[in-house]
């Protein structure tokens, strides 16, 4: 049964997990949300690193947030700063970087910091969903 896996119930529907999408472009948040909701994820949004930190620190998110998908080039607290914050304060929440700018050095540095995936836009829905599924597996492993 679903509730014995990683899922919990929201409004009577099985939920695969709670994902926070951090991107300054509403269009990107919209399509990522659309893509993940189809696979049964609950998707929260934040428009920059500062908002993302607010979201993860509010209420049950502290415990129930499963994955963060984070852009890099953003106002206020940018992606790199947000990643550093998440890694040191919420090391159990897996992070996926989703960026418009492919940069090998940056990718290496993020992966060293413990980011589970570095995806370059545009990314196919299937690839995004499997990255999230992999990240969730990691979270489950970390819980053990």
């Amino acid at each position: 049964m679903d509730e014995f896996k990683s899922g919990f119930f929201i409004g009577g529907e099985a939920c695969e997990g709670r994902v926070l999408v951090v991107d300054d472009e509403p269009d990107i948040r919209k399509v990522v949300k659309m893509t993940l909701q189809k696979a049964g994820y609950e998707v929260l949004e934040a428009e920059n690193g500062e908002k993302a930190i607010e979201v993860i620190n509010s209420g049950e998110n502290r415990l129930l947030l499963d994955v963060v998908i984070c852009d890099i080039r953003m106002p206020k607290i940018n992606g790199a700063e947000a990643v550093a914050y998440f890694r040191s304060n919420y090391p159990r929440v897996p992070l996926i970087v989703l960026t418009g700018f492919p940069d090998t050095d940056m990718a290496t540095s993020f992966l060293r910091q413990g980011v589970v995936d570095y995806l370059v836009k545009p990314v196919e829905g299937e690839k995004l969903r499997s990255a999230v599924a992999r990240a969730l597996e990691q979270r489950e492993l970390a819980k053990l």
Binding site: D27, V31, K76
Partner: protein, 350 residues
Amino acid sequence: MEISDHTKVAILGAGRDGLALLDLLHHIPSIEIVGITDRNPAAPGLQRARELQIPVIINVPDLIGNHGVNLILDATGDPAMEASLHTHKLPGANILSGSASRLLWKLIRHESKLEAELLQSEKLAGIGSFAAGIAHDINNPLQLILGLAENLAEERDLTAVHEQAQDIIQAVKRTSAICRDLTRYSRRASPHQDVLVPVNDKLDEALKIARYASSLHDIEMSKQYQPGAVVKGNPDELLHVLVNLITNAVHAMERTGGTLTLETTLHDGQVHVRISDTGCGIALDKLDEIFEPFFTTKAPGKGTGLGLYNVKTIVNKMHGAIAVDSHIDRGTTFTLTFPNAKPAGQGYLS
């Protein structure tokens, strides 16, 4: 080109050679063309002189005997002219005629070609730093297009299909605008195309380009435009000047954030363009050097050191001036001053 003294030039002959001299010399700030003359009222140089608001004088002695002319350029190719010049010229005025005059024209043309090359190479070197910005602005709409297209393949709701198809069209348009802006910016400025340029529009256009070079995310924008700010010059070159100054201003605030102020004012027949930042500032002992070629504070490979040198060259060519005021940790203001080119009595719609 460095000519230290102010030179007052009279051009004789407004045919092909005279026209070329006129076009080249009027860009040089230390040279004042007091007038041009030709026996043929339909000579192309006379028409050009009127466009440039340079006096067309019918009578040769009138032109060379007055106005404090100290250099006479004879581009008539008429051997009889030389003798007549010596009788009418003021004492102390020099005459260049025949091949000497053509040689001068060739040298100036060569110099202005080199200047154009320098400008172009600096511009292209700068475009390398746009990569991150361009990638961001192209890949974001592509993500939207891909996501929506994947969804459309399964979407049953016809209203949603229509909406998402519209979103895709808009995203494609935004992406193509990026290429249009950048190709317009990167093209070689066409020579001798002085037209009336509305400065406020150019500032907005420059801001669009500067976004690629540096993130404007944490920068507050303040625009204070006075309508009717119009200058005369090459629009591509002016755009380059503004992109350069805006990019520098944004870089100065990279670590701290701050306010970018773009301001135009009209005063006493002059247009003032101010580009201010509240960033790191320039040290007093560096202020004198910033317009020198190859001066840069950037890391090797990051800047060509030709940015402000080219800016100054272009501004001078437009008969303008550039001034800088800077305080460490408080910010920098560049002020450009140009003659207001707004035709008298005409309203300008901006």
